[in-house]
Symmetry: C2
Subunit: 470 residues, 2 copies
């Protein structure tokens, strides 16, 4: 049996596949904002019906007291490895909505790009995975490996209940390895395999300087202003070159190995072009290339800050509170627990007397992750990509974070291959997010081949190889 | 004729007067936000009907292409001075609405306080002025002076079209002096006369660091973050003690005269209590008392700042823009034009290459103002307050700004006495704004006596005395 029958079947159906993807994208499944609860429920129904109709068993919602995950399995290949297929059906909020050329939840194709919130992150690649499984079952009545589909509903809101779900449904989720539709390609031209990602932890910081907002005429000049205090605190987080200036945090970041630097340098990358493309100038920790800054070094960013009157017109108040949402991207061998403790101690130390500092820590951080290069997942991905492109894939790391990898490794002892087909230019998390239409066919060709290659291993070889590679 | 017949009439009607004030307060006349346009129109109608029904002539809206002013006149006292009566019918936005104990536009009396947006600033005192005029006309069919009522609709949004209106209707508005219902009392116990106020100018500052919001995983560590840049800029505006740190601006502020310091010290004021009352700690320019900081020294405040994602949950973006609303309170002999130029130059100088700085200057600043202490307005106010309280009033200055004073002085050559009855603890511009119910009767007793005292001067003496006092 050759996997090409399935690939041919899928490519012939590309138009219907695009239609179903658009139906998926029309559902406003924003997990971070309770106003979109109805959209979340609609996305769950959409997926339950799809998994059931393609012939998966045990189709159900896995509840962890947040947004549930959608689950379904096909276990008709005894002796073959069992592969968890990960995707997520939730998307980022569409804000700022007025910046979208076509509405965020009305998928629109322009110039070879499918515009919609979630098109790139990650409904497009999730659809490729599901269509692949359906293709095998339709064409052959069987998949080359056992399949357990796990579609998360809280990836964009910090995977708050993921650990609870995986722990609660541990027996159901037993598998040999995981392929994730999240964590896309680094380049459209150069084949790459993601072998790791940065960690992520988020905090919300608030300062309070008075019991209430005060009139700036009546109090201006004699009381603290919460916006000033927040600005002074934020200004201490980086030096003027853009390097993180939280000493205890920085001290615990390991120096780069020469191997890591060499691997990173193999990926062709134009530092100047990268920053010019987004309309910026080079900025960040000196002594590191942009790729190193993005994938091998930590990043600390204010994701949002607000204080006082931000409506139309003016309101001459002295704000009594100010807030900032903060995220820290960590690297391997950097402990999130230590980094957060260092960050909190720094924030306390720079907050003057008379200012109340509150740090809201949801405790949902995910450590950075690394996949050993000799793991069957990497071997198979290498084979598939080499055959498809004629080039030896470059092993790359992601700057973004896929918290699921750590949770699944820890609770189920499975390693994850990120095999999403999204690309870096697709304005993920921003207005006018899109998915390159050409990526759909590329994904529908590669996924069947990957599952076929994995089917040539037996279940036992996964853990053995992993141990060998440490 | 004694003014006590009018005072008696007004105090007997206090209940009806409170009812009419509540009707006025129920109208959401927020001038800064276009969403309240209907409330602005309702407030205009309410006032037009009131002025017409009490017997004023020439009742009309004075248009300057923004929110119009409401006007009406009584000119039945030939040879007597003509007094402009100033108030404003617009109010601040009610935000944050959730912080109000009773809704902002449902006036509610609790423990001797009338809670409503605008109760203190300045519908309460405006109502006192109008009820006084109506009282004279009802009881005697005449006022002791000629009256021109001018009720502004844009005081809370920087008086954008006030200059245009006053200039356009200059002949109609000719007067000898002005009494303002805005600019309240400094204390409930100690009689005071406001003889000046700080100036006010507002700017909106924006920075842009990239063409769009960027994913913090894909870009974090290698690009500028607009929130960081705004924080660094704001942090340069003050030193750690709270003193303004814009050298060219500070250098142009005149040193305090010993006379100014003595006058300020006459007003009993507990510095520690003042900051404790608002839940803060002492903060601000060293070497000055709190009263001096508030009334004789400039203040620079961020009134609002915002950047990135500020909704529920999280969104891991690197914001590409950040905004801040900024206000500067100036003191006499400090030129706004110079201060704004110094501030702009400073902002430019601290903005690094790679960051686009935009400063939106609506050009609606108002200089600080001073009323000469020998002016008939001060003489009359002193007499009325001494008789009412048995104490010699203290001459005080306001920390807040009443831009109208400068505009009327410049265009109509009239001086302004601020004779509002609001008090400093009334949470102006904040949630749960209120007006002390007891102030209503105090105002209704004082205003008729003030108009009677002014009626003892003739028209010519205003300008003469002014010249004598310089």
């Amino acid at each position: 049996m050759d996997e090409d029958d399935v690939v041919r079947y899928l490519l012939k159906r590309e138009e219907q596949i695009m239609e179903r993807l658009c139906a998926f994208l029309r559902i406003p499944s924003v997990s971070t904002d309770p106003a979109f609860a109805e959209g979340m429920r609609k996305a769950q129904s959409f997926l339950l019906v799809w998994l059931e109709s393609m012939g998966l068993r045990d189709v159900q919602l896995l509840d962890g007291s947040g947004h549930p995950a959608v689950y379904g399995a096909w276990e008709g290949a005894p002796g073959k490895p069992t592969i968890l297929i990960y995707g997520h059906y939730d998307v980022m909020p569409p804000d700022p909505v007025e910046a979208w050329v076509s509405p965020a939840f009305e998928p629109t194709i322009r110039s070879g790009r499918l515009y919609a919130r979630g098109a790139s992150d990650v409904k497009g690649s999730t659809a490729i995975a599901l269509e692949t499984i359906e293709g095998f079952l339709k064409v052959r009545g069987a998949c080359p490996v056992n399949i357990k589909v796990f579609l998360e509903g809280e990836e964009e809101s910090g995977s708050a209940s993921l650990r609870t779900i995986v722990d609660r449904f541990r027996p159901l989720l037993q598998a040999d390895a995981m392929i994730s539709a999240d964590g896309g390609r680094a380049s459209a031209d150069i084949p790459t395999i993601n072998v790791g990602c940065r960690g992520l932890v988020e905090l919300e910081v608030s300062v309070k300087t008075a019991a209430k907002d005060l009139h700036s005429g009546r109090y201006g000049g004699a009381v603290r202003n919460a916006a000033h205090e927040m600005a002074r605190i934020i200004a201490t987080l980086h030096d003027e070159r853009g390097a993180i200036a939280v000493p205890d945090l920085v001290a615990a970041v390991p120096e780069l190995t020469s191997d890591a630097r060499e691997q990173t340098a193999r990926f062709p990358f134009d530092d100047g072009e990268f920053v010019r493309e987004v309309g910026g100038l080079a900025h960040g920790e000196p002594g590191y290339s942009v790729r190193e800054q993005l994938t091998l070094r930590p990043a600390l960013d204010i994701n949002g800050m607000w204080s006082g009157y931000i409506g139309t017109g003016s309101k001459t108040i002295i704000p009594n509170v100010a807030h900032a949402k903060l995220s820290l991207r960590t690297v391997p061998e950097q402990s999130i627990e230590h980094a957060v403790a260092a960050l909190k101690a720094h924030l306390q130390s720079v907050t003057p007397q008379g200012v109340d500092l509150t740090i809201d820590d949801p405790g949902t951080g995910a450590e950075a992750f690394s996949l050993p290069s000799g793991h069957p997942l990497v071997i198979c991905a290498r084979k598939v990509l080499r055959e498809a492109t004629g080039k030896d894939p470059v092993l790359v790391r992601l700057g973004a974070s896929v918290p699921i990898t750590v949770i699944f490794e820890e609770l189920l002892d499975v390693q994850t291959l990120m095999f999403g087909f999204n690309l870096p230019d697709e304005d993920v998390h921003a207005p006018n997010e899109f998915f390159h239409v050409a990526s759909l066919a590329q994904g529908l060709s590669a996924w069947p081949r990957l599952l076929t290659a994995l089917g040539e291993f037996d279940s036992g070889s996964f853990r053995q190889d992993e141990r060998l590679q440490g």
